[in-house]
């Protein structure tokens, strides 16, 4: 396979991070470390006394058996956690509520780099989806539960339009141009609750909202007194007072669900070239919602790109400026999977009286109310998923491959629904209940035969008309499919999806064999 098809990508993949790639590329055998010490130390001893990082692991993950007693491979991956979790003065979390339980967060608070070196400082360091795709691998599996808690709460503080920021930018300059971070965030909360000691306590942790209303300017935690002086209008003050109070995390979660269930059309704040050089005006008009017949989350339009496949064209010469390569509007398959898993999780908590809300409500144009319990919502997705997403020969004129799951449902560009991409395995891991096991097995075979490589998965089926496997962001040709790296997610291998593929195989083996 052509080496150029591999790219070191934005750090969704940290647990399969730089260490792994680097070793592979240098054909550096993992076995070198089995005897305890590698060649690097032999050399270093001749010249200097350099610390062997594997020695340090024994001390640093001292309370965490999975890493401490794990193989050298596990330990090498755990070092991704040491690489990517760091304190950055220019990319801090928003200040958390003073009422957050102990141990209290340090200031500045450690954050996850979305990838070294391009996404390591300033507004480019902290991405909502990257953070929560990687949170489990970097912070939960490695036992760094408090840092995980701060990050979950820090992003919760920024919730606006029912969404978690795409770019955090310290909270006060967050951009809300992604539709998926909210679901990765919720799914991370699920992982935290299931895996951290006393994980359920996080649901009652206090969140100091930066944007208590959709239109609010960023608020500092505990600014009520200032507001009292500044705001002469008593009503406005009272509203601010109410909103300024710390909220438990479960209220923030419920607000996100309620806004999605109600549906929201919004225009991104400060829309224009100052926040996005290339997006056309229509792209700043965003929407989110839930399909009333299926319960699937949907959103976006064909002029924006609200999922991890977020390449916005920028070449005037090639004519792709302002054209997102992969808008993935409609219901993107991994969002529906993460959504179903999160709803099922919250329903179970609610049934055990550990989550205070059992349902969501939508108010129609004429004031009519629709109430769905969380259970009904999750059931509705389950009933509708396989028959709407599995592609059989009769599905549509746009079918390119059968025996796969669609990449989206209801996209503006109808053929995009039918493209074979590396996203459906995410849903298989998150919500295996949605899948007919035999269909799922067939689809995984297709993924294995068409997408899987030794280090990751292709982002698009090579038989697709728009497949271009070689990514070059400096390409300044007049070929709109590749100019300025437009094909970022049109074939190039991304490695974070490989654990997902491994995971979905493991899940399904038991289902199919039984």
């Amino acid at each position: 396979m052509d080496r150029r098809e591999y790219i070191v990508t934005k750090g969704n993949s940290q647990i399969f991070g730089a260490e792994l790639l680097w070793r592979h590329r240098h054909r550096y055998p993992y076995a070198t470390h089995q005897s305890g010490r590698g060649a690097d130390v032999t050399v270093s001893r001749r010249h200097f006394f350099l610390v062997d990082k594997f020695t340090l692991i024994d001390y640093l993950f001292v309370n965490h058996r999975f890493v401490k007693e794990g193989s050298r491979f596990v330990q090498a991956l755990a070092l991704g956690s040491v690489q990517c979790v760091a304190i950055s003065d220019s990319a801090d979390l928003p200040k958390l509520s003073p009422n957050v339980s102990a141990p209290k967060p340090p200031s500045p608070c450690p954050t996850l780099s979305a990838g070294l070196p391009h996404f390591s400082t300033g507004y480019m360091r902290c991405w909502g989806r990257d953070t929560f795709i990687a949170l489990r691998g970097l912070l939960l599996i490695t036992g760094r539960y408090d840092e995980a808690r701060y990050i979950i709460l820090g992003f919760a503080a920024c919730l606006r339009h029912g969404l978690i920021p795409n770019l955090l930018d310290n909270g006060n300059k967050s951009r809300f141009n992604c539709r998926d971070a909210i679901w990765w965030w919720l799914y991370s909360i699920r992982d935290y609750v299931n895996e951290a000691p006393h994980g359920k306590a996080i649901l009652k942790e206090k969140v100091s909202r930066l944007f208590p209303t959709d239109d609010a300017e960023a608020q500092a935690p505990g600014v009520c007194v200032c507001i009292m002086i500044i705001v002469s209008c008593w009503t406005l003050f009272w509203l601010n007072w109410i909103h300024q109070q710390d909220q438990p995390l479960h209220d923030v979660i419920q607000e996100a669900l309620r806004i999605h269930f109600q549906g929201l059309v919004f225009r991104e704040r400060n829309a224009g070239q100052s926040i996005d050089e290339h997006m056309v005006d229509r792209g700043f008009n965003n929407q989110i919602g839930v399909q009333p017949d299926t319960g699937f989350v949907f959103g976006g339009n064909d002029a924006n790109c609200g999922t991890w496949m977020d390449k916005m064209g920028s070449s005037q010469k090639a004519g792709n400026k302002g054209v997102p390569t992969t808008p993935r509007d409609g219901s993107a398959v991994e969002l529906v999977g993460l959504q179903a898993a999160s709803l099922r999780f919250l329903h179970k908590l609610a049934a055990a009286n550990e989550y205070p809300y059992k349902s969501v409500e939508r108010v129609g144009k004429n004031g009519e109310k629709t109430v769905w319990t969380l259970e009904r919502w999750a059931d509705s997705i389950k009933e509708n998923f396989d028959r709407n997403f599995f592609v059989n020969p009769q599905s549509s004129q746009y079918v390119n491959k059968t025996g796969i799951y669609k990449d989206s449902f209801g996209a503006t560009q109808p053929w995009a629904d039918y493209q074979l991409r590396s996203n459906f395995p995410i849903s298989m891991v998150a919500a295996p209940e949605l899948f007919d096991p035999k269909h799922a097995w067939e689809a995984l075979e297709q993924a294995k035969n068409n997408l899987l490589g030794p280090l990751g998965m292709k982002t698009l089926d090579p038989s697709d008309w728009s497949y271009r496997g070689s990514y070059d962001n400096d390409n300044d040709s007049d070929d709109a499919k590749v100019a300025h790296g437009a094909n970022y997610h049109q074939g190039p291998v991304w490695n974070f999806t490989i654990w997902i593929d491994c995971g979905s195989n493991t899940h399904l083996c038991s289902c199919v064999c039984l």
């Binding site: 060649a39 350099l50 340090l56 070294l116």
Partner: protein, 102 residues
């Protein structure tokens, strides 16, 4: 092979037992931008005739040595830099000294 006994190793154990993972991030890693972001007037170590290292911490050197060592490439610019003086160790000493917890 390094000897896992003796005073040097005991010293290492003492130092390592005081580190947390964020200290280790600074000791082993941090790319050029992260280092500059700290505002202490320092970036990645730049080897003449070669270029800047990927990491400012010791991993930056270790990665390079892993390529140099198997070939015993003593003509590598990094080896030249080591022969030219204590630039590398001086720089590392300076940056690690800025981390209070170390």
């Amino acid at each position: 092979m390094i000897n896992e006994a003796g005073p040097k190793y005991d010293e290492l154990k003492t130092i390592a037992s005081k580190l947390n993972l964020l200290d280790l991030n600074r000791a082993l890693y941090r790319c050029d931008q992260e280092e500059r972001d700290m505002g202490k007037g320092s970036g990645a170590f730049d080897i003449p005739q070669f270029g800047p290292l990927v990491y400012c911490g010791t991993q930056g050197f270790v990665s390079l040595l892993t390529e140099i060592a198997p070939n015993n490439d003593l003509g590598h610019p990094f080896c030249g830099n080591l022969r030219d003086g204590n630039w590398m160790i001086g720089k590392e000493h300076q940056r690690l000294s800025q981390i209070m917890t170390l």
